[in-house]
C-alpha cells in the first residue's frame, strides 16, 4: 500500500473512531446528538447569567470575556483528558491494528475538536446575544485553534504514555488542571495582578491562546507578535516533545498493555 492510500485509511479510521465517541457520549439520551450543541449552550447561558452579575465592574462585557477563554479551555481539557486514557480504554483494539497507535490519540483529540465546533455554534449565538461586533481579525481564530490543538496533542502524548504506566497520572492531572485553570486567568483580569504571579500567567501557554482569542473577539484586533510567537513556539515545541516521548516508549507501552 502506498503512503497516500495509508493516509486515506488512517483518516477513515480517525473519522470512524470520532463518530463513535460522539455517538456514544449521548447514546442513552433521547435528544441524542442535539445535546452536543444544547449542552454548551445551556452551560454558557448559566455562566453568563452568573458572571454578568459578579465581576462586572472590572471587565467590560464579562460573559464574552469569560466564554472566549472557556471554550478554548474546554477544548484543551477535553482533548487531553480523553486522550490520556485512550490507550488503556482501547486495549483490545490495539492488538488488532496495523497502523500506528497515534491514531487513537489523534482520534480523541479530533473528537474534542468536533465538540469544540459544536460549542462554537453556541458561542456565536452568545456573541449575537451580547451584540459583539466582529472584525476581519476573526480570520486568525483558526490559527489559534490550530496551535492550541498542536499543544493539546503534545500534552496528550505525554499523558497517554504516562497513564499506561501509572494510573495515578489521571488524578494528578485533574489537580494540576484545577491549578492551571486558575493560572490561566479565565475569569479575572490579569492587570490587577503583580509580581511573580503575573509573570507566571503571562508566560502560561494556555493564557497565550486565551489572550489571543480575547483580543480577536473583544478588541477586534489581530494578536500581538508576542502572542503569536508564544502560540507557535509552545504548540510546536510541546508537540515534538510529546511525540518523541511517545515514539520512544512504544514498545514498552505495548508490553505493559
Amino acid at each position: 500500500m502506498s503512503d497516500s492510500e495509508n493516509r486515506k485509511q488512517y483518516l477513515f479510521v480517525i473519522k470512524e473512531l470520532t463518530s463513535r465517541e460522539i455517538k456514544r457520549k449521548y447514546s442513552r439520551s433521547k435528544l441524542g446528538i442535539i445535546w452536543s450543541v444544547l449542552n454548551p449552550l445551556l452551560t454558557m447561558a448559566v455562566l453568563s447569567l452568573i458572571f454578568s452579575q459578579i465581576f462586572r465592574r472590572s471587565i467590560e462585557n464579562f460573559p464574552i470575556y469569560y466564554l472566549s477563554g472557556y471554550i478554548l479551555w474546554q477544548l484543551f481539557t477535553g482533548a487531553t483528558n480523553a486522550a490520556m486514557t485512550t490507550l488503556v480504554d482501547n486495549k483490545l483494539m490495539l492488538i488488532k491494528v496495523k497502523f500506528p497507535m497515534e491514531i487513537f490519540i489523534l482520534a480523541r483529540v479530533y473528537t474534542a475538536l468536533v465538540n469544540f465546533g459544536y460549542s462554537l455554534i453556541a458561542y456565536v449565538l452568545m456573541l449575537l446575544v451580547f451584540r459583539v461586533r466582529l472584525t476581519a481579525a476573526i480570520i486568525c481564530i483558526p490559527l489559534v485553534v490550530f496551535f492550541i490543538m498542536l499543544f493539546s496533542l503534545g500534552i496528550s502524548y505525554i499523558l497517554a504514555t504516562g497513564y499506561v504506566f501509572f494510573g495515578d497520572v489521571k488524578h494528578l492531572y485533574s489537580v494540576l488542571l484545577t491549578l492551571w485553570m486558575y493560572m490561566s486567568a479565565l475569569f479575572y483580569p490579569v492587570d490587577s495582578l503583580k509580581g511573580l504571579v503575573r509573570v507566571c500567567i503571562l508566560n502560561n501557554p494556555i493564557y497565550g491562546y486565551v489572550g489571543s482569542m480575547r483580543r480577536i473577539v473583544l478588541d477586534g484586533q489581530i494578536p500581538t507578535t508576542f502572542q503569536f510567537a508564544q502560540m507557535v513556539i509552545w504548540g510546536i515545541v510541546v508537540y515534538f516533545i510529546g511525540h518523541t516521548l511517545f515514539r520512544k516508549n512504544r514498545n514498552a507501552i505495548m508490553q505493559k498493555i
Binding site: 479510521v13 456514544r24 504516562g162 494528578l172 494540576l176 491549578l179 492551571w180 479575572y188 508490553q255
Partner: protein, 354 residues
Amino acid sequence: MSFFVQMIVILGIVMVITVITAITIICSHYSNSKKKKSGKRKYAAKSESRKSGRKTAQSQKIVKNKKTVSGHTMLGQDAVTSQKTAPSQKKNDTEGNSIHRIEPKDFDENDVEVSVQNVTMAFKKEKDESTSLKELLIRMAKRQHHYEMFEALKDISFDVHRGEVVGIIGTNGSGKSTILKIISGVLAPTKGKVIVDKRKIQLLTLGTGFDYELTGRENVYLNGAIIGYDKAYIDAHYNEIVKFAELEGFMEEKVRNYSSGMVSRLAFAIATIRDVPEILILDEVLSVGDMFFRQKSEKRIREMMHAGSTVLIVSHSTSVIKKNCTKAVWIEKGHLRMVGKPDEVCEAYEKMND
C-alpha cells in the same frame, strides 16, 4: 485582590510539587529499563542451567520435525529458517529417538509465509507490583526494586508455509496468545525474530474492538476501518457481512443487546469477508457460535485455504485442530514441545493431560 494573590501563590507551590513528582516518575521509568537488561542476563543463565538438567527427561518426549525431506538441499540463500534452529533443538534431533517428518508435498520450501526464529519473550514482572505513586516513591527512596524476569516464550522456532493451516495448542497461560501477538507485530520479541509481511496479517480474536453502545451497523464500519478496509469496500460488502453473520434485522440494534454468539459471528464475518486475507490468525474463535455457525465458519476457512490463505488457529480444543489443520504446534509453558501432524501432536498433548 490580595486573597487572590495568596491563593495563586499557594497553587503555584502545588504546581512545583506536581512537576517534581512527574519528573521523578519519568526518571524512575528510565532507570527501570536499565535494570531490565541486567535482570535478563541473569535469567538467561538460570534457564540455561535448568534446560540442561531437564534435557534427559525431556529428550524422550520431544519430537522434532525440522528435517524435511528436501529441505536442506532446496533452501536458497534467501529462504531463511529450517537450518537455523536453536542449538538445543539440534541436540534434541540427534538424541530424540523418533523424528517426525512433515509431508512436504504441496509446499515449496521457499514459500515460507511466516518464519518464527528463536523467539524469546521476556516480561518484566515486578514483585508485588506497585501501581500507586506513593509506593513507587517510597521504593525509590529505599532503592528497592524487585524484578523478576518472566519468560513467556523460550526459544521458539517454526515455519508456516503458504496455504497451511496451523493449529497452536497448549494449556492456559503457556504463551499461545503471546506468540500470536508477536507474529502479528503487536509485541516485539525480546530475542529472535519473526519474518512475515505484517500488512497481510489479519488477527481475529473474540469480541475485540466492539463498542457495545453502538449499533451493529456502526460496529461493522468501525471494526472494518480498524482492520484496514476502506469505506467503499465496506459499503460494497456490507450486505454480505450481515448475511454471513445471520444478523439480518438486528443491525440497527445496539450490540449491547446482542448475545455473545451474535457478537462473535459478526466479528468472524467482518474479518473473513476480504476475498483472500493472506494470513488469518484466529484466537480461540472457532469454538464459538452454535453448531451450525461453527460448520459454516469451518467451511469458510477451508475456502480461504483453497484460495491460498495461510491460517493460524489457537485453540484449547484438539478436535478443532484435528479437523481443520494441516500442521500443529504445541507450546507448553513457553517451550516448544512438538511440531508435526495434527493427529500426532494432539495425541501427545492429550496424553500429557492424563
